[in-house]
Point group: C2
Chain length 218, copies 2
């Protein structure tokens, strides 16, 4: 069984590796975990000994099949708890992250399966991120940043790339939510900002950064 800290490292490596596809550097892990490279090296050795990652000195790590599965189970728990907090306890989507960071480490498969059932087997969390099922399977929907959309087609907001509380609060303020329908009215040459229409009733300008951080389907 993995420790609290091991689970956190493994999850960080999973996310940094694009869901387990590419290698991750010691320094990247140190940055996202807010630790020093020396500490990361120590933990890398531990996870490597448990066959959760493949480690080659000085060349970073790659997550193994087993490691990917363990990481997915933590991600599953995190996202189910976030869904619970928003749907059942009336948290707003910008308040759930830190609490879910704690809840994701509760060890009880009975709990998580019952929670999943209670929530009626959701496939995405409050930020639009997919929830792995019991076996680790994810339903991936191809999404692109709003900043890369063209023309006047109907666009649906599917998820946020990075869900910082301040970005999420901003979205709420301007009326953007997961599932919202938007259309692009104009693109400003000067700074790449967009004028968009939300739900056919509200016009707003959003910056290029914001548009790059909103993932949509056309």
């Amino acid at each position: 069984m993995l420790s609290y800290t091991e689970e956190n490292y493994l999850k960080a490596i999973y996310h940094l590796s694009d869901s387990g596809t590419k290698a991750v550097l010691t320094s990247e892990i140190a940055e996202t975990m807010n630790t020093k490279a020396a500490s990361v090296t120590d933990m890398i050795k531990k996870l490597s000994n448990k066959n959760l990652i493949a480690y080659e000195k000085y060349y970073g790590v790659k997550i193994t099949k087993q490691g990917r599965h363990e990481a997915l189970m933590v991600v599953r728990k995190h996202r189910l708890w976030e869904t619970f907090l928003v749907q059942k306890l009336q948290f707003s989507w910008d308040e759930v992250h830190d609490v879910a960071e704690q809840l994701e480490h509760i060890q009880s498969s009975l709990l998580i399966e019952k929670l999943d059932e209670f929530l009626e087997f959701p496939t995405v969390d409050p930020h639009g991120h997919p929830i792995p099922d019991k076996s680790g399977k994810i339903v991936e929907v191809r999404q692109i940043p709003l900043s890369e959309c063209s023309g006047k087609k109907k666009i649906i907001v599917r998820s946020v790339k990075h869900g910082s509380p301040s970005f999420l609060q901003y979205l709420s303020k301007i009326g953007v939510y997961i599932g919202a329908s938007v259309s692009i009215l104009d693109k400003v040459e000067f700074d790449g900002s967009l004028e968009i229409m939300i739900d056919s009733k509200k016009k707003v300008f959003i910056s290029r950064e914001a548009a790059q951080n909103l993932l949509v389907t056309e």
Copy 2:
């Protein structure tokens, strides 16, 4: 802020001291925490330095006002989570303890207040134990062991003294639950066992130990 371990020690001391009224010995703590006396001495010093307990060498510890409050907050969280697991996730009352032991350490006052509200401010948990409110207040209802009841008055089962999974499973099996109405039909001289009627429809014999572990109001 208290560590996971400090919270557990404090909670154990609270329970062993009859809700903070009497002194507790090092060896008692060691026994319930499954640790050695030497480890307990170390932790006692830590909690004492934080003014959560009053410690006199060789004479055990007494919980302070502040320590009692901290312990009550952990107890509150434990019992609210148990209530959630049974009422919302359909756990049975013998399955909740170990999971609640983990959940009680989640740090978020927003979470616990919202959970309380979601459960509609319950006053007792699935084992009939009182749930402290936000400020630590407990509604104590005077209860006596079923073994000490006399005559044929109407008796209501209020709580279990010690809720081990096996005892709880046994109660379910014979049809006893919190709130059940029982009456005493006969007391066996030989071994102190009782013949009782449950909800005016089922007669069973229960041992003296079982009767001592069931708390009721007459």
